[in-house]
């Protein structure tokens, strides 16, 4: 296997970022191990659990299913870009209020995925939320509180 590292210039959470990576490294590997953005989690590494959800040019994807080199010239948004300084995003606030988490490993993925939904649909139905989030697995708290938190955040964002 070639050990040659590739120089990649991309944008992460609005900031120009450069890194060196090997071709097989995924975006998730580079976010966590090279850029030390450890909010995106590795659950399954096969695109099934959604714990590594990020957006690539605004499109929701699993960071474990994108090669880091593929992000050259593109724009990545992670959970670390969600809050505005010390001000939590309404989704983050509502997850706290609704206790929509227990261990928290799935939470960054749920938040990124839910934000991507609210970016395209300000007033989703419960069914829409459940289908949209079907690729995010939670193994402790169940989904009802998560769905309620997303619907409540959407309502608050529409009101403001």
């Amino acid at each position: 296997m070639s050990r040659t590292k590739i120089h990649v210039a991309t944008t992460v959470n609005g900031d120009a970022v450069e890194f060196l990576c090997e071709p097989p490294q995924t975006l998730l590997d580079v976010l966590r191990d090279e850029l030390h953005l450890t909010g995106s989690k590795e659950g399954c590494a096969s695109g099934d659990c959604g714990a590594c959800s990020v957006t690539l040019d605004g499109r929701l994807v699993c960071a474990c299913l994108v090669l880091a080199v593929e992000t050259t010239g593109h724009s990545v948004e992670t959970i670390e870009g969600m809050a505005d300084g010390d001000n939590l995003h309404p989704l983050q606030q509502k997850f706290l209020e609704h206790a929509a988490l227990q261990c928290g490993v799935c939470t960054p993925g749920f938040l990124v995925a839910a934000k991507a939904l609210l970016d395209v649909e300000a007033d989703p139905s419960e069914t829409q939320v459940r289908y949209w989030l079907a690729g995010n697995l939670c193994r402790c708290t169940g989904y009802d509180k998560i769905v309620r938190a997303v619907l409540d955040a959407a309502a608050e964002m529409r009101a403001n």
Binding site: S2, P23, G50, R59, L60, C62, V66, L67, V69, A134
Partner: protein, 286 residues
Amino acid sequence: MQYESPTSIEGVVALLADNAGDIRVLAGGTDLLVQLRAGMVSPDLVVDIKNVRETRSIVPEDGGYRVGAAVSGAELGEHADLKNAWPGVVEAAELIGSTQIQGRASMGGNLCNASPAADTVPALIAAGAVCRVAGPGGERDVPVEEICTGPGKTSLAKGEFVVSIFLPERGERSGDAYLRFIPRTEMDIAVVGAGVNLSLDAAGVCTAASVALGAVAPTAILVPEASAALVGTKVEDANMDAMAAAASAACRPVDDKRGTIEYRTKVAGVMARRACAIALDRARSS
């Protein structure tokens, strides 16, 4: 592993043709990256085709649409005109995986991964879709049903790749549909998939039909006997029963944890019949 991302069709072909070893084409990566991670493949070279414009666009052509091989499921679903013309093809693509997978997964990848259970393939075959294949000898057009030759195997020669998939003009009074059976509501691999595309004349008589099945043979299959059971009829219950029986008769499935031979054979007829009813409804209301 070396990674290359050329910006032209010729650039892709040159890399595929001029390098030895295990070379993989990367479109959305939702199959390839899983295989890489699992150690199922260890390519010497990965050629990413997403920076080739022709693989990433949906372009009207001759009354139909030319869809780039690497266009994502989400992009297909957002293309209102394409969805209106070929709802069965688009719904097959949208059945694949989660929202996250939809952001990347492509019809070209789904086809060339050559899984017998690939959802878009029966829908594309029923639609009469044709692949534009580029290679060292130039470009050639290949019907979708001639691409896969067995599980994980394609008829593509050294240096060739699928650039785009052409969906023909949607005629009057015609419709298509795709259904699959899975034991849950979301995110699973088809036990059986069925795509049906049909056209009616002004009197409601079926003038053309195409029935294709997935996950019941080593590749997705076109079932001419099932199509023939519909053509010349008004697609009444008895005609759909005959079509379903022909679909079941064409099955050569495996026995595995997803379904037995007997079960898959039975369900293939049921899925074909239900897909036919939806396609018929679409044809009558188009």
